[in-house]
Subunit: 231 residues, 2 copies
């Protein structure tokens, strides 16, 4: 199967690679299709590969011993996942489950380290990925420590609209099926609360709700809700 190289080249991890190098990197990648709801890897497996998401969405979900589910990260097209853990040759700390049918490229960590030896500047790219994840994680910790559920939810929906939104003229549709439970697990609350709050926002014209569907109608007011200047 043929991959569009210009697309892959535009992804942060591979920036500043020449065509030849990109070819050799792509030649040792494995293309994989995964159906909706299946898992790419499972928590606890040894991290021998990492993945680049070409298409669709993937949920990164640690499972805790006390049964509480939640979603650590939502992977959008063009992002890598399983990357940091693979470099460190440890175990995946979470399960990667698809939210849609997805298309992805996989590399073994051996192939990658091999390649990096000849392209040392990729170390910096890798560090940038790790740094970005760390920044996102710390931002989220701050939100969880200091903000009420309403505001956290506004931030989650805002990010969804920015990263997974498709402009439909009269609003921004979240571009994959997402349930209240999913949103609750991204926000750190219950689906009941999410339902209540989204309903109240719908009454005020900020969003439109549907079954596994969410449309943002008023980004301005949503932003205001997210930064606390509106309740």
């Amino acid at each position: 199967m043929e991959i569009d190289r210009t697309i892959v080249q535009s992804f942060p991890l591979f920036s500043r690679l020449c065509e030849k190098d990109l070819d050799s990197l792509l030649s040792c990648a494995v293309l994989r299709r995964v159906a909706q709801g299946d898992t790419v890897f499972k928590q606890g497996e040894s991290a021998q590969s990492f993945f680049l998401l070409l298409n669709g969405r993937v949920k990164i979900m640690p499972v805790s011993m006390d049964g509480h589910q939640f979603i650590m990260r939502l992977v959008n097209p063009g992002e890598v996942f399983g990357f940091v853990k693979a470099i460190l040759r440890s175990e995946y700390p979470a399960t990667a489950q698809t939210a849609t049918e997805v298309l992805l490229l996989g590399w073994t960590i051996d192939a990658w380290t091999n390649f990096v030896e000849r392209h040392a500047h990729l170390n910096l790219n890798a560090m940038q990925i790790a740094g970005q994840r760390l920044g996102e994680a710390q931002l989220r910790i701050r939100e969880m420590s200091t903000q009420f559920v309403k505001r956290r939810l506004a931030n989650v929906v805002l990010r969804l609209a920015q990263q997974a939104g498709r402009n439909e003229g009269d609003g921004i549709l979240i571009d994959f099926p997402i349930s209240r439970k999913d949103i609750a697990e991204m926000t750190g609350t219950t689906l009941h609360n999410v339902s209540r709050i989204l309903s109240s926002w719908e009454a005020r014209g900020v969003v439109t709700n549907g079954r596994e569907k969410l449309i943002v109608r008023d980004m301005i007011r949503l932003s205001a809700l997210a930064n606390g200047s509106l309740t």
Copy 2:
């Protein structure tokens, strides 16, 4: 001033360096003493240096626009801080304030990158630092999303005891002055709540409280509180 090289060598970032290399690295480090309550760097400054804490404790505190204070990380002796951001040549995302008088070593990022060019394996060490921070951050997110304040507090105190505890025979003393406000800002709650919960634990013989002081008397029961098998 003379630094004990065997101590520095035992720190993760510098593992697998020979004596000679260690000397050359130490020769371009700056030793610095900072008084209790002063700041090592401030949020928003461009990250031109990173630091290795030799002695004392440092609090990493992002400040949000809405005034909410909190403590993102507590740095223990032997740990580096400001490291990831310095490598990425961005701005410090938080303020580093000392909880005690501290002694630390500082390197400019230029000296570091220079040194890394001749010791490529340090890239992996750096990645390990970043990976560890990321893991800690994600663990904390999970705690904040799914656990009640009591249990989160138990986890915070447990970590304090493990990382900053000194065994006193009849209990484990947290080895630096820490206020209820500090603990609250590490847990994501108010000092009132911390006071209440710690008082109830004191009544049950789990801890002993004092002014800017905390002694863990019963690690077993504290662990049970932390993993939810006890309320």
